[in-house]
């Protein structure tokens, strides 16, 4: 099998010391708005919905309504929304435990996501998965996986199945940059290229694996360049720009659908909150967070839409109100949803139980 031509990052392999974040990238022109208004508005609305949803999660967590670990997506919305907006409904998404936003973007209702976080029967995993294990087979959202990097071989297998079944469905696999240090990442990329699988690996590089910065954990911090070891096409994208994420994903989808080839996309992003709700974030400064917040994906996209006369201030206020109501409705649904029946403790263990 001859190796396919690949696109590689032209950047140097070692980024400047100190930081490898999105702010260190040379200023690039914003992505062009080549999409119809409905698509753009929908993308905006989803990002805003996820932001407000996550803010509500933080509040509900503090009130004790959400238990366990709760990893918020605030700051990273452009990555999930931009990438998933490029998919067809029959395409698959697998991701990590920071997945509320991606679950909503793939089509799980905020009601079912919030109810899952509340541990209720109406949750998308019927209260058995919680924040880190959201699933919905109907929208091809295949989890929510909580061992760092665990979803990467799984996604590779889902892509393998699509190819085996001779469909042109593609699989998006999200993971944080810390997962790149796991063997599972390298084992998967090797197989994906060896067997030419339609899997798109999206590394959300938010620069911290829990409290350990990228520079303290990764010898070569240019994540996109790791694809070279497998001759997989890769690119590094401004993950704070939702349209750039969408376009990069569209390029990868084309490659996956038409040539059955994998891609690695490194999305440079930043999370504003702690690793989880229990993380006070003492490993970074307020000033650092504020610096990244100036590149806030929603702020940037709002301005772009406003400047291009796609959305007026009034439109934006209306969408804000609508999103707020949607989140309130999700909370009401979660509150009112019953707890799982105690009998559910012993269901769903086996598909073919043996008495």
């Amino acid at each position: 099998m001859s190796s396919q031509p690949t696109e590689r990052s032209s950047r140097s392999k070692n980024l400047p010391a100190g930081s490898a974040g999105v702010l260190d990238r040379p200023e690039e022109p914003a992505a062009q708005l080549n999409e119809d208004r409905d698509t753009l508005v929908n993308i905006f609305q989803q990002m805003l919905l996820i932001r407000r949803f996550e803010e509500k999660c933080a509040e509900s967590y503090s009130l004790g309504k959400i238990g366990g670990f709760c990893h918020l997506y605030i700051g990273q919305e452009a990555v999930g929304v931009g990438a998933i907006s490029a998919l067809r409904p029959d395409d698959y998404v697998l991701t990590s435990y920071r997945e509320h936003g991606q679950a909503i973007a793939k089509g799980i209702s905020p009601d079912a996501v919030m109810a899952e976080l509340y541990g209720k029967a109406g949750g998308c995993s019927h209260g058995k998965g919680g924040s880190m294990h959201l699933f919905d087979a109907d929208v091809n959202f295949l989890g929510g996986h909580a061992i760092v990097g665990g979803q990467i071989p799984l996604a590779t297998g889902v892509a393998f199945a699509s190819k085996y079944q001779e469909t042109d469905r593609v699989t998006l696999c999200f993971f944080g940059e810390a997962a790149v240090n796991q063997g599972a990442f390298h084992e998967s990329l090797n197989m994906a290229q060896l067997w030419k699988l339609p899997c798109i690996y999206i590394c959300e590089n938010n620069m911290y694996g829990m409290g350990t910065s990228l520079k303290r954990a990764m010898s070569v911090q240019d994540v996109a360049s790791k694809a070279c070891a497998y001759e997989i096409a890769s690119e590094s994208v401004d993950g704070m720009d939702v349209m750039k994420m969408r376009e990069a994903t569209q390029r990868a989808i084309k490659r996956a659908r038409e040539e059955s080839l994998p891609t690695l996309i490194e999305a440079r992003t930043y999370r504003y909150m702690g690793h989880s709700m229990s993380d006070p974030g003492n490993y970074r400064t307020r000033a650092e967070i504020e610096k990244y917040q100036e590149r806030d994906p929603i702020k940037i996209f709002t301005k772009t839409l406003n400047d291009n006369k796609i959305l007026s201030d009034k439109d934006i206020a209306e969408i804000e109100a609508q999103v707020k109501e949607e989140v309130e409705k999700a909370v009401r649904f979660a509150d009112e949803s019953p707890l799982p029946d105690p009998k559910e403790l012993y269901t769903d263990i086996y598909a073919s139980p043996i008495s």
Binding site: H133, F135, G157, S162, A184
Partner: protein, 326 residues
């Protein structure tokens, strides 16, 4: 009924199931072009082609996880570990993904996958290549664990495992691939999972054995018969779910139980069986349950030490005599 080796019986099961269902595929190290490290997959590449019989890189975590993902998307993978020793690298995907996916998704996904390969003691390959891991896998709800002891059982159980909608750990005994026995030719011959079998009827003591310990127990029973002790030999065949009813019924009849296994004694499947006998048949016991286990040491290389580490006929005979107070 034709007589064939355990190896050929397994091969036949794979061949029949690959022919029966196009969503079944086989992957693992050396399963295709090399024809299998133990030749269990001989001829399958030629018959079914490289799409369905796939050589993998040496990347156990990766291909185990790939198999689970493929199962989530509707395929029925058979993942061969060249030996179960190497499955240790894949345990995250077997335990955290395969075993739990159905439960943590609220029943939305089934994972019809078989992880199979040789396990238990091998011949003089020392600690890392010679060990019994069934108690690890049997510990987890969501997994089924199967260990055949005859060629016919191997065929019937493997076919059931492949048709089953849950993840099945199918452990073949490395020393038993050459063992011969009668095997039904019927394409639809299956043995249900979770159902044990009385391998020899007896009245004075019950020996519960699995895998390699079954033929060992049968030899012990033959010897004990000559000495006037009639042993019943029970093979649960499936470790999880365990056919405890069959075991308990036998113990209630014989009032004495010996559990023979190759694995280390601590927290073993034998420990579980002993506990269950104590729970369900305590009042019927005329002696404490006796366990015969592999030595509680990493497997040594030297032949004499290795022999000492694996239970043999004499160990089982002695144990039965002990519970019989003779």
């Amino acid at each position: 009924m034709p007589v064939m080796t355990m190896r050929d019986a397994l091969n036949l099961a794979l061949k029949e199931e690959l022919a029966r269902d196009k969503s079944v595929f086989l992957m693992g190290e050396e399963v295709a072009e090399y024809q299998g490290a133990y030749k269990v997959t001989r001829g399958l590449l030629e018959e079914f082609g490289p799409k369905r019989v796939i050589d993998t890189p040496i990347t156990e975590l990766g291909f185990a996880g790939l198999g689970v993902g493929a199962a989530m998307a509707g395929l029925r993978p058979i993942v061969e570990f060249m030996t179960f020793n190497f499955s240790i690298l894949a345990t995250d995907q077997i335990i955290n993904s395969a075993a739990k996916m159905r439960y943590m998704s609220g029943g939305q996904f089934k994972i019809p996958i078989v992880f199979r390969g040789p396990g238990g003691s091998a011949y003089q390959v020392s600690s890392q290549h010679s060990q019994a891991l069934e108690s690890w896998y049997a510990y987890f709800p969501g997994l089924k664990v199967v260990m055949p002891s005859t060629p016919a059982d191997a065929k019937g159980l493997l076919k059931s495992a492949i048709r089953d909608d849950d993840p099945v750990i199918f452990i073949e005994q490395e020393r038993m691939y050459g063992m011969k026995g009668e095997v039904p030719e019927d394409d639809d011959f299956t043995i249900p999972l979770g159902v044990g079998e009385v391998k020899r009827e007896g009245t004075d003591a019950t020996i519960i054995a699995r895998s390699l310990m079954v033929p060992t127990a049968l030899l012990a029973a033959e010897q004990l018969e000559k000495e006037g002790i009639s042993c019943e030999v029970i093979d649960p065949r499936t470790i999880r779910p365990l056919d405890i009813r069959l075991i308990v019924e036998s113990v209630k009849k014989t009032n004495r139980a010996v559990v023979a296994e190759e694995s280390h004694p601590f927290a073993s499947v034998g420990a579980e069986i002993s506990a269950e006998i104590a729970e369900h048949a305590f009042d019927y016991l005329d002696a404490p349950v006796k366990r015969v286990s592999g030595a509680d040491v990493p497997m040594p290389y030297a032949k004499n030490l290795e022999q000492l580490a694996i239970p043999d006929v004499a160990h089982i005979v002695a144990a039965v005599k002990e519970v019989s107070y003779v």
